[in-house]
Amino acid sequence: MQLEIVTPDKKIFEGQVTEATFPGANGSFQVLQNHAAIVSALAKGVVAYSGPAGKASMVVDGGVVEVKDNKIVLLVEKVLS
């Protein structure tokens, strides 16, 4: 899947991932290949993803994620670490 992480100041990540976990407002959830289209608001928490390039994670302070046709777009205002 294609994952894009964007903040107003810059694009933080763009690349292929096999799995991504997001801190949804109602609890953490994982997105795998062929996930149904979803728009979810995020709470403060850890975003983690892994792909061919390895694993990575970051703490975000809320945001919104859209998954559609194996494309994930994550919009966050601020990455805490």
């Binding site: 107003p8 100041d9 407002a25 959830f29 289209a37 979810s40 608001a41 919104v64 919009l75 205002e77």
Partner: protein, 289 residues
């Protein structure tokens, strides 16, 4: 004929002025590039955000009430003039101030507060008579989303708390490097949620936790990014305006120098001619004795 030494001194002073304006022009050009880069970097976020917002609102039936779009009877207005921190950029600042004053005249009967962004706007309004919110006028020392956001959040919070019924931003819109256009844009209440003419790609989204929650989250985010965009545009416009102003100044200094050099050479020649005349006349007088 003008005094030779005087003219020479003037030439020197114009030359150094020209060097300064030339340097400022180059600095402004570099800063303009950086400011434009910032706009380009912000664009993906803003586009994706409006995209999602459009998708979510398009697949919803019926209107959703958003607190930021609430229209109330206007009695208290917040004006946000966006200028630069420094001068020497042509009519950039005075245009904004003029437009702001026109709005002040228009709202003379209402309770108007001013939240200047940029030192020039602060200097223009700090002596009153309107109440000035002076917490944010230094935003241009660090044009990052986080920093600009503080001003945006303040405006949005005071709108929600009904401290203001209307928020208007006056700023220079970036047309291209050489042109800026002063705009007075209504920031709050928002005019419309999202553009209606979207093709409404009806995807059946799962909405987590709920549509209302997402809209409530997205709308302020969209407003903040709109505010941020305004500040970035004004920032780019400032450097564009300064670049053109300094280019003109360099050009004018060049013209002035041309005239001065002509004058200098003329008076130098005149002085030489005079001297020769005197010597010849003196020699003639001696000979004819």
């Amino acid at each position: 004929m003008a005094n030779l030494k005087e003219v020479k001194e003037r030439i020197n002073s114009v030359v150094s002025t020209q060097q300064i304006t030339k340097a400022m022009k180059m600095v402004a050009a570099a800063k303009l590039r950086r400011a434009q880069d910032k706009i380009t970097q912000m664009r993906p976020y803003s586009q994706k955000l409006t995209g999602i917002l459009n998708n979510v609102t398009a697949s919803s039936e019926g209107e959703t009430d958003v607190i930021y779009a609430q229209k109330r009877e206007v009695t208290r207005v917040l004006l946000v003039p966006v200028t630069s921190d420094k001068g020497l950029c042509g009519a950039f600042n005075s245009n904004v101030l003029k437009a702001t004053k026109a709005l002040l005249a228009e709202y003379a009967t209402l309770d108007v507060h001013i939240m200047p962004l940029g030192k020039k706007a602060y200097d223009a309004f700090r002596r009153g008579p309107h109440t000035v919110i002076d917490t944010f006028y230094t935003v241009f020392s660090d044009v990052s989303f986080e920093n600009v956001n503080r001003a945006a959040s303040f405006a949005m919070e005071s709108f929600v708390n009904e401290n203001f019924d209307k928020v208007i931003i006056v700023y220079n819109q970036f047309k291209n490097v050489a042109t800026q256009e002063v705009m007075a844009e209504q920031f709050l209440p928002m005019e419309q949620l999202a553009s209606e003419d979207t093709k409404a790609v009806e995807t059946d989204y799962i909405l987590e936790p709920s549509r209302e929650y997402i809209i409530e989250e997205l709308v302020p985010a969209a407003l903040k990014i709109q505010f941020f965009k305004t500040v970035l545009e004004s920032n780019a416009s400032e450097h564009g305006a300064r670049m053109t102003a300094m280019d003109k100044a360099t050009e004018n200094a060049g013209e002035l120098l041309k005239d001065l050099r002509l004058m200098y050479n003329r008076s130098r020649q005149a002085a030489i001619t005079n001297e020769i005349l005197e010597i010849v006349a003196g020699a003639n007088a001696l000979e004819s004795k």
